[in-house]
Each structure stands twice: as C-alpha cells, then as structure tokens.
C-alpha cells in the first residue's frame, strides 16, 4: 500500500477526497491535518500519487483511571483521531479471501495503521493501548479487528467532535 505522511504538496488532492462525512472531509482540507501538535496524518495514495483514497491521523495519548474524582494515568496510548476512506474507492474495491470472507478497503488501511503504531511503539514511544472514538459506521470494522469497549472506570480524552462517538481500545501486549 502506498501510505505516506501527509505534506503540504499533497493538499490539492484533498479537494477531491470524499468519505461521505463532511467533518472528516473538512479535517483533511484544514491546516490541522498538517499540524504536528494535533497529530500526524498519513494518506493512502494511488501508485501514481494522484488521488487520496484514505487517511488517518495518530497522536500520543493516555488511558486514565477515574479515582476519587481525579484522573490517574493507567497507561500510554496511541490515539487514532481520524480514520476515513474515500466513498467511491470503497465501492470500487472488491476483495475476497479464498474462504469467501469479504475484504474491505478499511481492513487494509487499518492493518497498515496498526503496523505503523507497532513500529512507533517498538522504536520511539511507549504505549499500552491504541484508542479511538468510533462513529457508528466504523464500529464494525474496529470490533472485527479486536477493539474493545473501555472498562467503566477507564477513560481517555476525546477531541472536539468525538463526543458522540463510541470509545474503544486495543491492548498492544499479547
């Protein structure tokens, strides 16, 4: 897969990206997608680098325990803040494993994203879990890849716009 860090030279391609969710489209078109204070954005491109098929944004975070009204850090996290695929590309992709299991573009991009997180964890930043706040539309994909509901006494910080989403996490230790 041709997944690269999103840079200023790729921003003209964002105009044609449409995942069907205006909020996620807007993020990619905004300067925030290039802002390292918010996270790092990676884009999935065609081989000729002429079309963005998907993107995700990752940043450092933590999972906290609620203890007597205070938040106490339970473990470091890598947070997937944004994850989106172009709607037309999703419809044009048809994949199937030999046993008949359907494959989706989201499977490919999420596996690539999780591998990148593993590399970051091994080489650069310690973390216990991957966190994300899922929309209803994306929930099935994440659960298929073993993301879990947060325990009742655990929490993590949500970004603006994630308030209505479903908080999920994936432990990184086997």
């Amino acid at each position: 897969m041709n997944v690269v860090e999103y840079t200023h030279t790729l921003t003209p391609l964002a105009r044609n990206f449409d995942c069907g969710n205006p909020y996620l489209n807007l993020f990619l078109r905004s300067p925030d997608a290039l802002n390292s204070s918010i996270g790092k954005t990676y884009v999935y491109l065609t081989e000729a680098n002429d079309c963005i098929l998907g993107y995700y944004n990752i940043s450092a975070g933590s999972v906290d325990q609620l203890e007597n009204g205070f938040r106490v850090k339970s473990g470091g996290a890598i947070h997937i803040g944004y994850f989106a695929l172009d709607e037309r590309a999703q419809h044009q992709f048809q994949g199937q494993m030999p046993d008949g299991t359907n494959l989706y573009l989201g499977d490919y991009l999420l596996i690539e994203c999780l591998d990148r997180i593993e590399q970051i964890r091994e080489g650069f930043v310690g973390a216990a879990v991957v966190t994300l706040a899922s929309s209803e539309a994306g929930e099935h994909l994440y659960r298929k890849h073993d993301f879990l509901d947060l325990d009742d006494d655990l929490t993590f910080s949500l970004s603006e716009g994630e308030g209505e989403c479903i908080p999920l996490y994936l432990p990184l230790d086997y």
Binding site: T46, C51, S74, G75, M97, A128, K144, P171, D173
Partner: protein, 59 residues
C-alpha cells in the same frame, strides 16, 4: 527535579492495563491475508479507481 511523592514499590499506576490483546481468528486471518497479498491502486482515464490485490511474492 523535586519529586515529593513517596515511592510505593512501583512506578506503574495502581491499575495497569491488564487486558492482553487476544487476536480473534477472523482478525488474524484477515491480517495474514492482507500482509501476504499487497494492495495497489491506480486511477484509470475515466477517473475510476482500479485495485489490484497481488499474490504472495508477486510484483
């Protein structure tokens, strides 16, 4: 630095993340398949995206 919290025998929080990752059979199979069958995509002249799932070792 001036640490004033007494050491209580661990640098970890009282409640660590205890759950381990237990890959489901479905997730493992999809992951193995995707990693051994790379995906490439190109844009055709009519603007459609053409995907190609390559076989193991195929270039």
């Amino acid at each position: 630095m001036n640490y004033t919290v007494p050491y209580n025998g661990t640098f970890c929080s009282k409640k660590k993340i205890l759950k381990k990752r237990v890959p489901s059979k479905e997730a493992m199979e999809i992951r193995n398949y995707c990693l051994s069958h790379p995906l490439s995509a190109s844009k055709s002249t009519d603007g459609k995206i053409v995907f190609k799932i390559q076989g193991p070792g195929e270039k």
